[in-house]
């Protein structure tokens, strides 16, 4: 034994034990796995959610210089800098953060006064900034030289043309609403309207114009009518092209000098660089959505392959969960070890699933399911795992990226882990459930189970939730059937393994080779990458982990200070009442203090993270994969005295706005306005929240509906399409063996024969051909092997319009029943008969005339018999004649049962019908037209290429049916009320009234036939090509047993020259076929006979189970009869 073999054996042993363990303790293992997943996913919390959030990096302002564009020069502090921090930023953003208030506040001021005069100061401020220039020894440096020069707006933004700067410095302030024109501002009667005129009405996804110009989120600006703090904030945003520290510091100091902010505590140490990732737009989403659609389709089709488990969908869900959580785990582990996957997880997930995911799960399931059912579940799982060992270990993966490779390795490990622990356990639970539910159902009573077994099984069912190890439970099976079933399945599984593994190994080898080539040819990229990875992973580099990306606007949680101010509006609202009271107490005037708190620090963080990208995109500058540097804001505090506020007040405003908290409406306003204010404020957030929630809900519902529709649309079509090999079938339809173990789905493809319009009434088959008849009366002949519809015999009504000329070729298509020349000739006789026939007591009034046709003369019969011998009767004789019809056609004799049941009280006038037959020396078939339109086929039988159909009007139709060519209606012999026909070399027709008719079939060569008949008109009976063109089939009534049974005959079987009939009168009779002589009458059943079976030896067994519910079945009698009959017949 070589080393590899030993290893292999050991591994397989280990897998066996592992499978045993998983199946024994499912729930603890699942819990353990869940904990593992959660633990591994924990690092994910630090990742930005969709992977598109901006990433920040801070450098101190002191000694700041733009990073050089060359990577190589920065080796020193490489570990600290993100790799995107290379080259100059797109722009430096300098914000001048203004807080302004009117102080002291007077009670008679209007609400609009809160922000009108503060806003009016923006023009002055902007002028100061714009005109600032640094004068030093090197000359004069103005803002124009350092600022970011912007050009045209995008053509699509005509609306904003007057509001955003063009052809000049990127300098944004609220003054842009009025084109930086103080006069316009003063003339503006409604500031709020001006500001909000460009606000989108719908859900806000990106930065609005108000946000852009104010430079801070709208709710912090304080520009509204219900601003209780009476502090207005806005920023002047300045985009700079170059970083000129001296210029900036001079600007800062000058502004601070002009507008001192005594209590400002803003820190000014750090420049924050914000790197923006590539935006995911609609264009990018479409391929992604497509891949996900493919993924779902793949999952759907894959789950259909799983068979022999309790719930396919549950297992499929488990498979998806396995793969998904393995993805999450691997991302989490990668993050933990410092490999930040830059690949968008959502993008590679579908490929990961498709390439590795479900297939292995399916392999696992298959190998488990293919183990013998009789083993206990634990052992089955264990054995399946053993089979699978080479399967899951060797996972190959198509990988296209260096990173993806690394990622995939981790992913595969976690996937393997999950498959080993999670999925196996779920599978064991599922299979156990199936055993309980299905095997119970499927095991028939005679599956040699000791009676105690069901009890023990139910006990086991009880025990399972309690997780006690299941007691060994074995269903003993006959080894023979068991082995038959199992071996091919095993083989197939092995083939399956072979194929899959081969492919996977090849792919893996290809990947390895490819990576090798890549390493060889591309040393720069990969090696540096790897070295960087190594340094990152080294223990010393632990501290130097790249900063966890924190998206700027979305997740401000990174900064504890900002944490405090995530919802700064709340404390304001809470303290409202107190402020109010204080104000009321303090009298007419109140001082407002502008405070600078930690919440004001880096106010831009509260902006939407798309704020800057959208601003720059207006000028056709993309920030994707680039970064901007945001300089610390310059605080500016403005105090305005009441005179200023009054001066700038617009005359119309006094009329429109109430005094702010006027004493007259103090009470009312105090109650109403806060409500309004808070509701407005909150309403804004809430509406957005609700919109998002509603959107999510709607999309969820749509998804569910979509999946449901998918299920509904796909499933019904799956039943029995032979193109789709893995159709879902009802379990009951499966050809299960006796212990309920159905062969795998791939082996059985139901052949669907479509074509019938109505319910199928009766069916007959001889192995090669299949004849079916539906309620309409249409008969179809199918090839049982291929499912082709060979022939369609439409309703017999067509026969009517046929004329007397018999066209050999045409007759089939137009009137397949064979429009014989006989029709005309018989017409007369038929009418004659009708006249002769006395009124009959009919239950069905449309059937009366037929009865006259049925019976043939008994004397005639004898004659026929003689003539028959005279004629060269080709093989309509059965075994007695010994003629082998197959020399001509195949087997020509047939066993037909035709039941046509007219519920007539009796056969009143048999004798009358005889006349018509006497006219012909041959009792050639009589087409009976009368009831044809309404008559339906009650029974069918088929043998060789002859089809016999018994119609409800009592008529019997015989056709020869060529396999490849349309058959013709050969002859029609009318028997009145036929219950059942059994034909074996002869046709036996049983009627509901208990009578039996024996017909004999003969073929004649047309030559003989003509000679015999002498009447050319009769020769027009078409001969089937199968029978050789000259052959004619003639059906003759040979015997009639008028009262074979007292009650309707329900069962009829013929074999070996004997005919057994069963009737509702609790008796069976055995007739001899040749002479219709009743040999035996079998009594003993206590109910109506429903089925009769004769085996070839001649043993009969009667059962009466289903349709005689009143009478209990008599099982002992059946067996007891068998030997009796056998003895009798042999004697």
């Amino acid at each position: 034994m070589t080393l590899t073999e030993k290893l292999r054996e050991r591994i397989s042993r280990a897998f066996y034990n592992h499978g045993l363990l998983c199946a024994s303790y499912p729930i603890p293992i699942i819990l353990f796995t869940g904990l593992c997943i959660l633990a591994c996913c924990y690092p994910l919390l630090k990742l930005p959610l969709p992977g598109t959030g901006p990433v920040e990096y801070s450098t101190p302002v002191k000694d700041y210089s733009p990073p050089s564009p060359d990577v190589g020069l920065q080796q020193g502090d490489l570990s600290e800098r993100p790799d995107w921090y290379v080259g100059a930023p797109v722009a430096y953003i300098q914000q001048i953060f203004v807080k302004a208030t009117v102080s002291p506040w007077q009670k008679n001021f209007l609400a609009v006064d809160v922000f009108r005069s503060p806003l009016s100061r923006v023009f002055q401020l902007v002028e100061e900034i714009r005109n600032h220039a640094l004068r030093d020894s090197s000359g004069v440096k103005s803002l124009e030289e350092v600022c970011l020069q912007v050009t045209d707006l995008l053509p699509g933004l005509k609306k904003l043309r007057n509001l955003l700067p063009e052809h000049g410095c990127l300098l944004l302030s609220p003054g842009n609403f009025w084109q930086n024109d103080r006069e316009r501002f003063n003339a503006d009667p409604d500031i709020i309207k001006t500001i909000h005129q460009h606000e989108p009405k719908t859900l806000q996804t990106s930065a609005t114009l108000k946000d852009l110009l104010f430079g801070l989120p709208g709710k912090y600006s304080g520009v509204n009518l219900y601003n209780r703090k009476r502090v207005v904030s806005y920023t002047v945003t300045l985009g700079l092209q170059q970083y000129d520290s001296r210029f900036l510091s001079s600007l800062r100091s000058r502004l601070k000098l002009l507008h001192p902010s005594p209590n400002c505590t803003l820190r000014e140490e750090n420049i924050v660089h914000v790197h923006f990732k590539e935006e995911i737009g609609i264009a990018e989403l479409i391929p992604l959505v497509t891949t996900y659609i493919i993924l779902f389709a793949y999952i759907y089709f894959s789950t259909r392959k799983i068979d022999m488990v309790k719930s396919k969908w549950g297992l499929a869900l488990a498979a998806v969960v396995t793969v998904l959580s393995s993805l999450l785990m691997s991302v989490g582990l990668c993050t933990l070890f410092g490999l930040t996957p830059t690949l968008n997880g959502g993008e590679i997930f579908p490929y990961l699933v498709v390439v590795i995911g479900l297939e292995n799960v399916l392999v696992l399931t298959k190998s488990v399911v293919s183990t013998p059912v009789d083993l206990e579940v634990k052992l089955r799982i264990a054995q399946g795992m053993q089979n699978d060992l080479s399967g899951v270990v060797l996972l190959g993966l198509v990988s296209c990226l260096q990173e993806f490779c690394l990622f995939a390795v981790v992913g595969l490990v976690s996937d393997f882990f999950l498959q080993m622990f999670f999925f196996t356990t779920v599978l064991s639970i599922d299979i156990r459930r199936m055993e309980l539910a299905d095997l119970n159902k499927r095991l028939p009573a005679e599956a040699c189970m000791p009676p105690a077994k069901p009890v023990s099984r139910s006990q086991r069912y009880e025990r399972q939730p309690a997780m006690r190890p299941a007691t060994p439970h074995t269903i003993t099976l006959q080894p023979s059937s068991f082995r038959n079933l199992r071996l091919p399945k095993r083989l197939r599984v092995i083939y399956f393994f072979a194929r899959t593994r081969l492919a996977q190994r090849l792919i893996m080898a290809g990947t390895v080779i490819w990576i090798g080539i890549l390493v060889y040819t591309d040393p720069a990229g990969l090696r540096t990458y790897l070295t960087s990875q190594v340094t990152e992973q080294s223990p010393l580099g632990e501290a130097g982990l790249p900063p966890m990306p924190v998206p700027g606007g979305v997740l401000p949680a990174g900064d504890p200070k900002i944490d405090l101010s995530v919802f700064p509006s709340d404390p304001i609202q809470l303290s409202e009442n107190q402020t109010q009271q204080r104000e009321q107490k303090s009298g007419l005037e109140s001082l407002t203090e502008v405070t600078w708190g930690p919440e004001d620090e880096e106010i831009w963080r509260k902006l939407s993270f798309r704020h800057w990208p959208s601003l720059f995109s207006y000028y056709n500058i993309t920030l994707a994969k680039r970064y901007i540097s945001i300089l610390p804001a310059i605080p500016v505090t403005l105090y305005l005295n009441p005179q200023e506020a009054l001066e700038v007040r617009h005359p119309q405003e006094a009329n429109r706005y109430h005094p702010f908290l006027s004493p007259s409406s103090g009470k009312l306003g105090a109650e109403a306005q806060p409500d309004q204010a808070s509701s407005k404020l909150q309403g804004h957030q809430d509406v957005t929240l609700y919109k998002v929630a509603a959107l999510g809900l709607a999309s969820g519902i749509i998804l569910v509906l979509l999946l449901f529709c998918l299920y509904r649309v796909f499933c019904p079509k799956n039943y029995g399409q032979n193109g789709l090999s893995h159709s879902r079938r009802k379990r009951g339809d499966l050809p299960c063996d006796d212990y309920g173990y159905s062969p795998p789905e791939t082996e059985i493809v139901p052949l669907v024969l479509r074509g019938h319009l109505m319910d199928i009434e009766c069916l007959a088959s001889d192995g090669m051909l299949l004849v079916s008849c539906c309620l309409v009366g249409q008969i179809r002949v199918w090839d049982a092997q291929t499912g082709d519809c060979l022939t369609v015999i439409p309703k017999p009504r067509l026969r009517r319009d046929s004329s007397g000329i018999f066209d050999y070729q045409e007759s089939w298509d137009h009137s397949p029943d064979g429009k014989n020349g006989l029709d005309d000739s018989f017409e007369n006789s038929h009418q004659l008969k009708r006249m002769l026939s006395p009124p009959q007591p009919l239950l069905f009034c449309d059937q009366p005339d037929l009865t006259s046709l049925i019976d043939t003369n008994f004397s005639e019969r004898v004659k026929v018999a003689e003539s028959e011998t005279r004629l060269r009767a080709v093989g309509s004789r059965q075994k007695e004649t010994g003629y082998d019809f197959s020399s001509l056609v195949g087997k020509a004799y047939e066993e037909h049962s035709t039941s046509s049941c007219g519920n007539l009280a009796g056969l009143p006038a048999p004798s009358l019908g005889d006349e018509s037959f006497t006219g012909f020396d041959k009792s050639s078939p009589l087409p009976s037209w009368g009831g044809d339109l309404e008559s339906s086929v009650w029974s069918l039988d088929l043998q060789g290429n002859l089809i016999v159909a018994g119609r409800s009007n009592g008529k019997l139709e015989v056709r020869s049916e060529a396999r490849r060519q349309p058959g013709r209606c050969r002859s029609c012999s009318a028997g009145p009320l036929l219950t059942r026909l059994r034909l074996s070399l002869r046709i036996v027709a049983a009627r509901l009234n208990g009578s039996l008719d024996f017909f004999s079939l003969e073929t004649h060569t047309s030559l003989n036939h003509l000679q015999f008949r002498g009447a050319p008109s009769r020769s027009s009976i078409p001969s089937s090509p199968v029978f050789s063109s000259s052959d004619v089939i003639v059906c003759q009534l040979t015997h009639t047993v008028s009262c074979a049974h007292q009650k309707p005959i329900t069962a009829l079987k013929a074999a070996a020259g004997r005919l057994v009939t069963g009737s509702q009168d609790h008796t069976l009779r055995v007739f001899r076929l040749e002479d219709s002589c009743c040999l035996f009458t079998l009594q003993g059943h206590s109910g109506a006979i429903t089925a009769v079976y004769i085996d070839q030896v001649g043993c009969t067994q009667e059962q009466q189970p289903l349709q005689a519910p009143a009478e209990p079945p008599v099982p002992p009698e059946g067996p007891s009869w068998g030997p009796l009959l056998l003895c009798t017949w042999r004697s």
Binding site: A503, S725, R754
Partner: protein
């Protein structure tokens, strides 16, 4: 039973074959339509994959850019995919060796997914040079064939399709109908034949699977299927790559 009513008028010689013949013709047409729409759909989608590499950050008209490439690309792709999808089963039939390898929808789904993945990789992965990219894609395409097809006839036909399509695109570029951003193989990208090959294999896979769907179903049945297939069987048309780089 449309066939039933029509049957009596047909000459007798056709006999029992009539029904199957008529439905086969109908089936062919339906399959062609299905494949055509699959082709058009994937042409649009995979086109986007190529375009979006250069898409601006906030294009005001993202949706229009889907249709901004030449209008004739999707119909061409659709037609090509229909031809390929019908050609494969037809060839199988004529060669008398029906394709039995992994004939199931889940395999087809995987094939399509892998193919889209190949396109995704070619669009997203930044390789050092074009040779590497082409070699990688070639290896992946061969892997696709080995994994899902594995028939010599399929391989041959795929090669033929790739050759023909590359020739056509060369001619088109030569005549200035469109152009590639950075041609490195005469006038086109060197990985183009690989993509064409993979697309041919994929469409052939779909076509073969479609051909296995029972012919006996009614037309309405199949039309319902058409809709389902359209939404769930996105596959790929090789010619969608024609529009790559055409601006």
């Amino acid at each position: 039973m449309a066939e039933n009513d029509a049957m009596p008028t047909l000459p007798k010689k056709c006999g029992p074959y009539i029904s199957s013949v008529t439905s086969r013709g109908m089936n062919l047409v339906i399959r062609g339509i299905v494949l055509f729409f699959i082709g058009v759909f994937l042409a649009l989608v995979l086109n986007l994959l190529q375009i979006q590499r250069n898409v601006t950050l906030f294009p005001p008209d993202v949706i229009t850019s889907i249709f901004s490439s030449a209008w004739w690309v999707p119909p061409c792709c659709g037609t090509a995919s229909a031809v390929i999808g019908l050609l494969y089963p037809c060839m199988d039939r004529h060669l008398g060796e029906p394709h039995k390898f992994k004939r199931e929808w889940s395999s087809v789904m995987r094939c399509v997914a892998v193919f889209v993945g190949i396109n995704h990789a070619s669009a997203k992965v930044n390789f050092a040079n074009n040779i590497q990219l082409s070699l990688t894609l070639a290896a992946l395409s061969i892997g696709l064939w080995w994994t899902f097809d594995r028939s010599r006839s399929g391989f041959g036909l795929g090669i033929g399709i790739a050759f023909l399509a590359t020739l056509v695109s060369q001619l088109l570029v030569y005549n200035g109908v469109y152009q590639y951003t950075s041609p490195d193989f005469l006038y086109v990208r060197s990985w183009l034949p690989c993509i064409f090959f993979a697309g041919g294999i994929t469409m052939g896979n779909i076509g073969r699977q479609l051909a296995m769907v029972s012919l006996e179903q009614g037309v309405s049945c199949l039309l319902v299927k058409v809709l389902i297939y359209m939404s769930f069987l996105p596959s790929y048309i090789p010619t969608s790559y024609l529009s790559c780089g055409c601006r």
